[in-house]
């Protein structure tokens, strides 16, 4: 009798379980929820009056968002992105001393020649008397020069620049999020190509001393360079040529180069211009006031600073926020025949940014992945000597055995007289709010 009771109980329980199972079938639907997150940039406005009046020298400040760097006669200039320029006495690289800060709203690039500092400020080109680097002062303002990039966001935005609200002096990244049932196809950032927007990156070039003047050394992602008696600057599409024979620069030519122009690098009597897709080579010899295009070297879509030494150009291509789906590599291009540049080799990298070369010593910023020190004395057989990790880098200047490295973490300097024994000389940290 007990056995029969157990059987009945078992039967009842199984039916209950079956009913529960059937009940849960109401929820028998797969679901797919997608959350898309993107960064949208919002313009930061400043009134025209404040924009003009805010240019000036202030006491030295902490680094917060270091951008491009420039070295001139013992002084290290560090761009504080869209804020101005830190002037640092670097006569002793083991003990760099901040001396002043030049407040320049919406500034990203700079170059120095013969005690004159040239810097951009939104659409304008500013000229400072830099004969006393501890007390520079504004001499001239050339208005409405860089009209294309000035109002470009450094990334995706839906915000239209409203000139009635003032001048755009910065862009603030805002995190946006949208949750979709299924896939998000129509969010505002869908299809944002990334290309076509300038970068805030920096890189390195070795500028020359010529024309009887003294110029500094900047980076391969710089958009300003001085060679001879001319300042060359690139905008999103254009190459600007300024004559520096007088105190106030004279715009001699504005020439369309291509699209998504990023960097400019002078070597001998040529300009190497990097863009999101090709590298352009221009000749200065025939007429420095009107550079002539010699050739175009096409590479994969990627952010691409370039430096040149001897018969070889070194281009880093990287995948990035503004160069999505790009490649990450170092390409070596034979430019012995400037009319027919030819790729001879490439080396896989992690996420290369700015680079610098000095007598076959090649330094490549790897972004968040540190710094690579390479022996490029044989460009067809470049050897990695050292990979420094733990620092974020995007720009380097190798100069007189002192390697100046900038990145989100600050400025680090190394003695590279012995590549096998790189010694850290100093570190200027970044202080964030």
């Amino acid at each position: 009798m007990t056995g029969q009771s157990n059987l009945t109980t078992g039967w009842i329980v199984t039916v209950i379980v079956a009913l529960i199972a059937i009940f849960t079938l109401k929820a028998c639907e797969d679901s797919r929820t997608q959350t898309v997150t993107w960064i949208e940039y919002e313009p930061v406005y400043m009134s025209a009056e404040e924009f003009r009046n805010s240019v000036g020298t202030e006491t030295s400040k902490d680094l917060k968002r270091p951008g491009k760097i420039y070295f001139y006669e013992g002084y290290l200039l560090v761009n504080e992105l869209n804020k101005g320029i830190h002037v640092i006495d670097n006569s002793n690289p083991e003990n760099p001393i901040p001396v002043t800060f030049i407040n320049i709203p919406a500034s990203k690039d700079m170059a120095v020649r013969n005690g004159m500092l040239y810097a951009d400020s939104h659409k304008d080109l500013l000229v400072f008397d830099f004969s006393n680097p501890e007390n520079p002062h504004l001499l001239h303002r050339l208005e409405d020069i860089f009209s294309v990039t000035a109002n470009m966001a450094p990334g995706f935005t839906t915000q239209q620049v409203n000139s009635e609200q003032g001048i755009v002096v910065d862009w603030e990244p805002k995190i946006r999020e949208e949750v979709c049932e299924g896939d998000c196809h129509t969010h505002p950032a869908a299809g944002f190509p990334g290309f076509g927007f300038r970068t805030a990156d920096a890189a390195t070039f070795m500028s020359s001393e010529s024309g009887g003047g003294t110029t500094g050394t900047g980076g391969s992602m710089a958009r300003f360079t001085i060679t001879g008696e001319h300042l060359y600057a690139v905008d999103h599409y254009d190459l600007f040529t300024f004559s520096l024979t007088s105190e106030k620069p004279v715009l001699e030519e504005r020439k369309q180069v291509g699209w998504a122009i990023e960097t400019i690098f002078p070597y001998r009597e040529n300009l190497f211009i990097g863009s999101a897709s090709p590298m352009y080579i221009y000749d200065l010899k025939s007429n420095p006031s009107s550079p002539t295009q010699l050739s175009v070297y096409w590479h994969a879509n990627a952010c691409d600073p370039v430096v040149v030494e001897g018969d070889f150009a070194f281009v880093t291509l990287r995948d990035g926020e503004l160069c999505p789906r790009g490649v990450n590599r170092l390409e070596v291009i034979d430019v012995a025949d400037l009319n027919h540049p030819e790729k001879v080799k490439f080396y896989e990298m992690i996420n290369p940014h700015g680079l610098g070369i000095n007598n076959g010593k090649l330094f490549v910023s790897e972004g968040k992945h540190g710094l690579k020190v390479m022996d490029a004395s044989d460009p067809k057989n470049i050897r990695l000597l050292k990979h420094i990790t733990g620092i974020e880098t995007y720009d380097v200047i190798p100069f007189n055995d002192v390697l100046m490295v900038t990145g989100a973490d600050g400025i680090v300097q190394y003695d590279y007289s012995d590549l096998n024994d790189l010694k850290e000389l100093s570190y200027i940290p970044v202080y964030r709010d």
Binding site: G3, N6, L7, T9, G10, W11, V13, T14, V15, V17, A18, I20, A21, I22, T24, L25, K26, A27, C28, E29, D30, S31, R32, T33, Q34, T35, V36, T37, W38, I39, G155, F156, P173, D183, C184, A189, A190, G191, F192, P193, G194, E321, L322, P324, R325
Partner: protein
């Protein structure tokens, strides 16, 4: 008729048939082979959904504490390939409601999924498995030396997430939840 309703009817019919059969068959002799000791259940479930059906292969190794109760640790593989394969790692309990050679059983499995990306899409930058839960009921047919066969029907809940980078500073996080009907057969050792 929707797929969900069809599944419901199939399941209802199957479970009813199985339990009626089990009630009759359960009047068979008392089972004497499920003595305490190591137990293994290896099987395949058909994980059926409105979009597609995928098999799940699994194995539970454990211990039978009582002729009507066994627990174990299970591991399986569910190739959803959408774009993840999920590998559930779970705790499993099996309860026989009566002690007969042919008897109704309830199984409960709960744990976490380990995810494996099967896509060659380079934009997929990360993924992780989520919860796994699967109750089922069915009939167990046991023979000599603890060997047997279990036929079950039940419910399966799987979740996982993967992250994909889009153009520029965009990321897409996709939460996948599979709520499915499962029909399974397993061998007992």
């Amino acid at each position: 008729m929707t797929d969900s309703t069809l599944f419901k009817q199939i399941l209802l019919s199957l479970i009813t048939a199985l339990f009626i059969f089990s009630d009759l068959a359960a009047q068979d002799v008392v089972n004497g082979n499920n003595s305490p000791g190591y137990s293994n259940r290896t099987g395949i479930d058909m994980v059926a959904g409105s979009n597609f059906t995928t098999p799940r292969f699994y194995m539970v190794n454990g211990y039978r504490f009582h002729p009507q109760f066994a627990t174990g640790i299970g591991v399986g593989i569910t190739p959803y390939n959408n774009p993840l394969i999920l590998m559930p790692l779970y705790f499993d309990a099996q309860i026989a409601l009566i002690d007969r050679r042919v008897r109704p059983v309830i199984q409960i499995s709960a744990g976490r999924n380990i995810s494996i990306n099967t896509s060659d899409d380079p934009s997929i930058s990360g993924h992780r498995g989520g919860r796994f839960f699967s109750p089922a009921a069915g009939i167990e047919f046991t023979g000599e030396n603890r060997a047997g066969v279990t036929v079950t029907a039940g419910y399966s809940f799987d979740s996982a997430q993967y992250r994909r980078s889009g153009f520029g500073p965009q990321t897409f996080e996709t939460d996948l939840t599979y709520r499915r009907v499962v029909f399974g057969v397993a061998l007992l050792f």
